[in-house]
């Protein structure tokens, strides 16, 4: 795309859009320092919740589980989903319509139905509920999201560059790895990021497929609403966002320097 500076209105608009996205996050961060436990009015500044967080073994364990599950689910679903996208977007094969339909089902099915039916399924095949069942379930609903985004990228893909590569002597695998994949990489990355986002915050399906001792962050937090979601959770989210933000900033600086 063009390297010209985009129009002023577009830049202003985008700034506003990012502001819209970040204002609640700013509030969330500020209220992580709120001394009021109920966290509905600003009462005073305190760092106590961060200390509570570091001593809260349950929440930290849940955070770790959430990261692990999301990480593995994203990796596996991105691979499977990308392959599926390639198949559906470029090939004609026996069972195409059925495959495409199958791909949409996890997006369409209501979460509580998916959760309960997966639970019943796992019980029937005698797989004990735990981190494994949660991860398997996450992969299932992540695959179609990845596939759809990659398909959008593949749509209208100019096959002549693939053909050119092969004419020049590359075999299918090399062509895919050195030509196709880099070209569709923005799609693959976007799909992966969507899958990660979905997994990190999933409640319903995770709830039904979790077993004793396998808790995730959403499970703990949703359960807190009966009493109060203390600023400790704000503290956790703030740290999380801060860590990722710092990593991104480092990465961006590294890239700017490289150029």
């Amino acid at each position: 795309m063009s390297e010209k500076k985009p129009a002023l209105w577009l830049r202003l608009y985008s700034l506003l859009a990012y502001a819209f996205i970040y204002v609640p996050i700013l509030i969330l961060v500020i209220f992580s320092f709120n001394s009021q436990k109920l966290n509905i009015h600003w009462q005073g500044f305190t760092l106590a919740w961060y200390s509570t967080l570091f001593h809260d073994g349950q929440v930290l364990l849940a955070a770790r589980n959430t990261l692990m599950i999301a990480g593995i689910a994203t990796l596996v679903s991105t691979i499977i989903g990308t392959m599926a996208a390639l198949a559906l977007q470029r090939y004609h094969f026996f069972g195409y319509a059925a495959s495409e339909t199958l791909m949409y089902i996890p997006i369409i099915i209501p979460e509580v139905v998916m959760g309960i039916s997966l639970l019943v399924f796992f019980v029937l095949v005698k797989v004990s509920l735990g981190l494994v069942t949660i991860t398997l379930s996450h992969i299932a609903f992540d695959i179609p999201f990845v596939a759809l985004v990659v398909r959008a990228r593949l749509n209208g893909y100019d096959n002549s560059i693939d053909e050119a590569a092969m004419d020049l002597g590359a075999n299918e695998l090399t062509t895919f790895w050195r030509v196709t994949l880099p070209t569709i990489m923005p799609g693959v990355l976007s799909g992966a990021m969507l899958a990660l986002t979905l997994s990190l915050d999933d409640y319903v399906i995770t709830y039904f497929t979790a077993g004793p001792g396998s808790t995730t962050l959403p499970l703990r937090v949703f359960s807190m609403v009966r009493f109060t979601v203390t600023p400790e959770i704000n503290a956790l989210s703030t740290l999380w966002v801060l860590i990722v933000f710092v990593i991104l900033a480092i990465g961006q600086i590294a890239r700017n320097r490289q150029a």
Binding site: A87, Y104, I105, V229
Partner: protein, 303 residues
């Protein structure tokens, strides 16, 4: 296809590898098989369970009884459920349209940004969604409620005198829904827009097209696949989303997602819930397949 210089182990005639390399059908099947296998085991079998469940009956205390009947489906033929479905569709359509309107310029901006910055800009859109869902919504409640942050600021600047009373109204629900679904529209749109080559736009300009015409005739059509994907990833999950309307709308409306959830939790009428899910599933499936075909999503297949 390949030439003699291709540095690959010489193949036996009719070996499976040769078959794979020459048959497009085989390649396609191979690529789709992990997804098919995985989803078949984890989705179809549970789905069959749900289908079976929809024909059973509810016991006195909410247990499932193996008495075959069709009443779960006939009970759905009630104007009440049609009303709920229509309202849910309305919310879904409104959310999707707003996401397109608000998200398109944003996706366009990111796609036009210098290549080095694009990943960062995308990550920045998603970063807020790695916080916890509940506290994000609670933050919006703090902002929008009567006497909340928005009211306080506006009244301080003397722009308003009384509360805007946004929270617990459909406006608040829309704000929340768009907020939660925006990334699901922006990301697919971005992947399509990023593909639009500079050379195409330059060619259009050279041929005398003003920028708005180039946009309408070149950029917009090329971004259509992204819009289709974004619509599916926004509209369909929006149909099942009830947490935002409950928390930000005061739980004063009922959507199809609430109805189905209620059947499994409070009413404990799993067979009826299963039937409602099946109907929703089929309706949505039909819509999705029709829509993607119409929008030409599967147009280019290598044969």
């Amino acid at each position: 296809m390949t030439t003699a210089e291709n540095p690959v182990i010489p193949e036996k005639r009719n070996s499976p590898l040769k078959l794979l390399r020459e048959s497009k059908v085989a390649q396609g099947l191979l690529l789709i098989s992990p997804a098919n296998l995985y989803l078949f085991i984890l989705m179809i079998l549970p789905l069959l369970l749900v289908t079976g469940l929809s024909f059973l009956s509810r016991g006195t205390y909410g247990q499932v009884e193996f008495k075959f009947n069709l009443t779960n489906y006939t009970r759905l033929i009630d104007p009440l459920y049609a009303k709920v479905l229509v309202y849910t569709l309305y919310v879904g359509v409104a959310t999707t349209v707003l996401c397109i309107l608000i998200g398109y310029p944003l996706a366009y901006f990111i796609a036009r940004a210098p290549a080095r910055q694009r990943s960062l800009l995308l990550f920045l859109i998603l970063l807020p969604f790695w916080t916890n869902f509940i506290i994000r919504i609670y933050a919006w409640i703090l902002i929008l409620r009567e006497g909340g942050i928005l009211d306080t600021i506006l009244q301080f600047l003397h722009l308003t005198k009384t509360s805007l009373n946004i929270l617990y109204t459909p406006t608040a629900v829309m704000i929340g829904m768009v907020y939660e679904f925006l990334p699901f529209m922006v990301l697919p749109l971005y992947t399509s827009l990023e593909k639009v080559e500079n050379s195409l736009l330059e060619a259009a300009a050279d041929l005398g097209a003003p920028p708005w015409k180039a946009f309408l005739r070149v950029t917009l059509p090329l971004s259509l696949p992204g819009m289709v994907a974004g619509t599916i990833l926004t509209f369909i999950p929006a149909l099942g989303m009830f947490v935002v309307p409950d928390l930000m709308g005061g739980a004063k409306t009922i959507l199809i997602g609430n109805v189905i959830r209620n059947q499994f939790l409070t009413a404990r009428d799993w067979p009826f819930g299963a039937a409602a899910s099946m109907v929703l599933l089929i309706l949505t499936l039909v819509f999705t397949l029709y829509y993607t075909r119409k929008a030409g999503f599967s147009e280019d297949l290598l044969i």
